[in-house]
Amino acid sequence: MTVGLNAFILLAGLLFAIGMLGVILRKNTLVIYMSLELMLNAVIIALVAFSRYNGTMDGNLFVFFIITVAAAEVALGLAIIVALFRLRQTVMVDQLTSLSR
């Protein structure tokens, strides 16, 4: 494969930018959370590419840990969103502006 490291890093950066656009643009908390997952995904593409072009295994192992932590994080975050919905009956961030009940 003659595709260089910069192409992969460019792809990862663009994916991260798209995830950031989703986080600051959307109102739905679930879509914001999916955009956060997209940013995490962009980072692991960059890590795998660096690991492959560096010839070491460390980046791949780091991605392994990141995927594990992301799975735990998604379970906990969605539980928090469900608890929030139970309390307020909405998940739109513009209606969740008050800190008190």
């Binding site: 192409a7 890093i9 995830g19 656009l21 560096n54 392994f64 994080e73 928090i80």
Partner: protein, 180 residues
């Protein structure tokens, strides 16, 4: 041939990610996200990280996105699609910020002053590694070897983190009375 595959998969990844961000329906967005994760796994195959590609499809495209779809359909948040985005000022500001970030990334990695290009190193034959670093291999055996030698402490910490996350989910989602 693999170059063409890279460009195809990269284009599908970016387009489906963008569709996820702009799609008004959250369920459609989640399906676009699954497509993006599967093409990311294809990119991992191109980078010869086969084990991670399988893990990506199983964990991300399988477990995580099914959980997302389940919660989206459980909460039924698509009742009012009238005001989809935030106000005009946030829309303009986020688009301007996104454009600036894209220009920055393209200038950093696609212009003349990008990172030095390195050729693909040959895949090592010995999966258990020798010397100081663990060389890049394609076998799943090297993952197990690394997890139980060099990365023993992070492995244990990750296991404990999964346990605490499980207990946290139970505590958060338990319905307790409000007056207590």
């Amino acid at each position: 041939m693999t170059d063409l595959l890279f460009y195809v998969f990269a284009a599908i990844t970016l387009i489906s990610a963008l569709l996820m961000v702009v799609s008004p329906n959250a369920v459609n967005g989640a399906v676009c996200m699954i497509v993006s994760f599967v093409t990311t796994a294809a990119l991992f195959v191109l980078l010869e990280a086969y084990f991670l590609a399988v893990i990506q499809v199983l964990v991300y495209a399988g477990a995580v996105m099914v959980l997302f779809l389940f919660i989206i359909m459980l909460l039924d948040v698509d009742k009012d699609t009238s005001q989809l985005l935030k106000d005009k000022m946030t829309l303009g500001a986020s688009i301007v910020g996104f454009s600036l970030l894209v220009i920055l990334i393209c200038a950093a990695f696609a212009g003349g002053q990008h990172l030095p290009e390195t050729a693909l190193l040959p895949v090592a034959e010995n999966p258990t590694g020798e010397g100081i670093g663990i060389p890049f291999t394609t076998s799943a055996k090297s993952y197990g070897y690394s997890l139980f030698t060099k990365y023993m402490l992070p492995f244990q910490v990750t296991g404990f983190l999964l346990l605490s996350a499980m207990i946290g989910v139970i505590v958060v989602s338990k319905k307790h009375s409000t007056d207590s």
